[in-house]
């Protein structure tokens, strides 16, 4: 029986790969779950687009402050040692390759590492991009955290993105409820598969060519 990961477990798997001392931006949606899964005792500094380094957990009820928000505009706190800066500096950190990791959600990722996560392209949809395109090109490593399949069962790993791109060839590693997959110049390499799922079955569900990582073969 295949043991799919739930969202918290995917977040924990992402967190495992983020080393001590990293500067990290967690995108809106699924990636925000990573914050609670970071191993205690590992000093990792969270960046928020709205001018915060050292983003802390949600405030206790009654302690919310309208001036202290995260990028999702939810009440937030600052950790000891954290600081504030204006938006141009915040995006200099992103674009200037100062962030070690950006963890982003995705609608689709292509075999070349193209990312689509901002717009479904539907004619009546109101487009909104936020900081996603800056994070996609700017972070030293772009990690994607997503469900492997859409609600209809279609693979979110695709030959070419059919949704509008956020960034071309920008994704380094993909974490899903089924597997961890590296994007390399010669295609997608499977790093981990959940228990009870064979490589062949993962390949069938994914619908794009996957390679076994040499060490995992």
């Amino acid at each position: 029986m295949m043991k799919k990961l739930d969202h918290k477990q995917i977040a924990a798997r992402v967190a495992r790969d983020i080393p001590e001392g990293s500067y990290v931006n967690l995108g809106i949606g699924l990636p925000t779950l990573v914050a609670d899964q970071l191993p205690k005792g590992r000093e990792i500094i969270l960046h928020s687009e709205n001018g915060v380094l050292g983003l802390g957990p949600k405030p206790a009820p009654g302690q919310e402050d309208e001036d202290m928000m995260n990028a999702g505009k939810e009440p937030a706190t600052l950790v000891t040692g954290g600081c504030f800066f204006h938006h141009a500096d915040s995006f200099a950190m992103i674009r200037g390759r100062h962030l070690d990791f950006a963890v982003l959600g995705a609608f689709q990722v292509s075999v070349a590492g193209d990312l689509a996560n901002w717009h479904t392209g539907a004619p009546d949809a109101i487009p909104a991009v936020g900081g996603a395109m800056d994070l996609a090109v700017g972070a030293k490593k772009v990690l994607v955290m997503m469900e492997h399949l859409t609600k209809k069962g279609e693979s979110k790993l695709v030959e070419r993105c059919t949704y509008p791109l956020t960034g071309a060839r920008c994704v380094n590693r993909i974490y899903t409820d089924l597997a961890v997959i590296d994007v390399k110049p010669d295609g997608l390499h499977v790093v981990d598969i959940v228990d009870g799922l064979s490589f062949e079955e993962l390949q069938r569900l994914s619908g794009v060519p996957l390679k076994r990582l040499a060490s995992a073969a």
Binding site: N50, M68, K73, H87, A88, S90, A128, V129, G131, P164
Partner: protein, 227 residues
């Protein structure tokens, strides 16, 4: 004697003409200059071009200005929110123009305007829909998109403390776009929680030097706790 302190938000924005381009500080409600926006609504200028990260939340502040049909065009990175119904309605009716700009490009275009930069190349959005029709260039081993500065007639922002020269400090994440917007407008108008004597603000911690500020208004109780 230099004195940039103005008696009221209404007085600070009385000269706003129709068709003005106005930058509004804030990221969602953090740093939104609510009293100045209310004064702008009361003042009556129309056909405005607004620069903000968002397109208003719920029924107050920027959302109210949009709801009152006073905005012809908005430049922002993230208009669609669960409570952006005033913008959504006018956008779907074709009554407001949207220029969608990636957040970092928005910030840098504002910064560039304030810093006298004519244009800049950024890697952001290369190869995407938001770079369609724009000039691109390969520099080294990367591809870049040419982006132009955004200048404004007015910037209306919220700060925490000011003195009569217009030196400003901010509070927590309410700083966001305000310091760069202050540099990019011909007339920067600031609402603050507190006005202090010259020399009270430690010169080492002034975030926006007064040279970027034209008018300062004290607004009581700008520190509203979130519900």
């Amino acid at each position: 004697m230099i004195n940039k302190i103005v008696a009221s938000p209404e007085a600070a924005l009385a000269d706003t003409p129709d068709g003005a381009t106005i930058m509004i500080g804030g990221f969602g409600n953090a740093g939104m200059p609510a009293a100045l926006i209310d004064a702008l609504i009361a003042q009556g200028a129309r056909e405005l071009t607004i620069v903000n990260n968002n397109a208003g939340n719920a029924d107050t502040g920027l959302a109210a200005l949009i709801g009152a049909k006073r905005v012809r065009k908005i430049l922002c990175s993230f208009p669609r929110q669960s409570d952006s119904w005033h913008f959504d309605r006018l956008y779907r009716a074709g009554e407001i123009e949207l220029e969608l700009v990636p957040q970092g490009t928005l910030a840098e275009r504002i910064r560039a305007a304030g810093a006298g930069i004519g244009a800049f190349f950024t890697p952001t959005a290369y190869g995407t829909k938001l770079a369609e029709g724009k000039e691109t260039r390969r520099i080294g081993d990367r591809d870049y998109v040419l982006e132009y500065p955004i200048h404004a007639d007015y910037a209306i922002i919220k700060a925490d403390r000011a003195d009569r020269w217009g030196n400003l400090t901010y509070r927590l994440s309410a700083r966001n776009f305000a310091p760069i917007m202050a540099t990019a407008a011909k007339c920067t108008v600031v609402q603050v929680r507190e006005i202090v004597e010259l020399g009270t603000i430690d010169p080492e911690i002034v975030v926006t030097p007064g040279i970027f500020v034209k008018r300062v208004v004290k607004v009581v109780a700008t520190l509203r706790k979130a519900a």
